[in-house]
Amino acid sequence: MTIQLEINSSESLASWLYESGIPINVATDYEPTNYFIENDSLGSVVIKLPIVSSAVHEKGLKYIYIESLEVCRGPAWISLLQNQLKSFQNLQNDWNGYGSSAPNSIAIRNSQTVLDILHILNFAPSSIVPSAEDGIAISFAKGKRRAIIECYNDGNIAAAMYVIDSEPLVWNVGISEEDITESINRIYDFIQ
């Protein structure tokens, strides 16, 4: 499948790529008409595209065609995050020297549920990391807006969303799939 992407400026391209949630490297040293897609060592898909300069744009370049984007778009970030999630099984207790417990099977299972829902919504988080608070943190970022879902080892899940340099809104998510979906939708509306 080919998706046609209209390029108005390098900014719009970068913005579109950012919003697509694809872990991406944008290269600046390629000819404007060249681009390619490759798998990096972590299994994520890296799309390399030129930044379209205004000079090039004035010469008539208006579209870049991204082939197979639909195929690689979802699996790109989800496979990367799932691999990261799996890697947390190898973490040792007190991994940060501050006495934090490694994520346990409950936190990993709940985080997997969060990722599954995010995958369905094609809503890519910015990171998934072990939390110093004994669990796993799944974070979202766009501009100055931030959100975080934390799945704790005791089975609880909490979420926060905030604009940088302001007080966060924090709530208990609940543990059912419906509860998690509701909180993700809330975060989606806030972040988008």
Binding site: N96, G97, Y98, G99, S100, S126, S127, V129, P130, S131, A132, E133, A137, S139, A141, R146, I148, E150, Y152, D154, N156, A158, A159, A160, Y162, I164, D165, E167, P168, V170, W171, N172
Partner: protein
């Protein structure tokens, strides 16, 4: 790159029989290490809700937070916040209030070691409250000044 040689904890770090010093001035700096940042701030996931260990600047250099279990954390970042940056209290949606303060808790090999602790009704909080803790961590993460970026991220 900061380098500490193996088995070379700075001598000034050892307690050597020194007493607990309970006095913290509001502008005393507290040091913390972390392995991730989020833009210009420390990732809240790196911060442990009370009890959070810190080194106090009265008895520690900032980089000494990387010495623990050398060389495990040598490529982590570190930063500082002031005593007055600690949220005085946070109240949950159900009206439960936790009060926060830093207390000196020296270790044999780290005299500066201190802990940010949470109190409720004058007693140390034992039962965790996810909402209060997460709110505390997000607020504090935005007040930490990054002194050294982590090299592992």
């Amino acid at each position: 790159m900061i380098s500490f040689s193996e088995n070379h904890i700075p001598r000034e770090m050892f307690r050597n029989g020194r007493p607990i010093d309970p006095v913290f001035l509001p502008d005393e700096e507290l040091y913390i290490r972390f392995d991730r940042i989020d833009g210009e701030n420390v990732d809240p996931a790196c911060i442990k809700a009370p009890v959070q260990s810190v080194n106090r600047s009265k008895y520690s250099k900032a980089e000494w937070v990387l010495v623990a279990r050398y060389p495990q954390f040598i490529d982590w970042g570190y930063g500082s916040f002031k005593v007055c940056d600690i949220p005085e209290s946070i109240t949950s949606e159900f009206g439960i209030t936790h009060f926060f303060k830093v207390e000196h808790a020296p270790l044999d090999d780290n005299y500066s070691h201190s802990e940010v602790r949470a109190y409720k009704n004058g007693e140390l909080v034992r039962r965790k409250n996810d909402v209060i803790r997460l709110k505390y961590r997000v607020i504090l993460s935005q007040r930490i000044i990054i002194l050294k970026m982590p090299e592992i991220y």
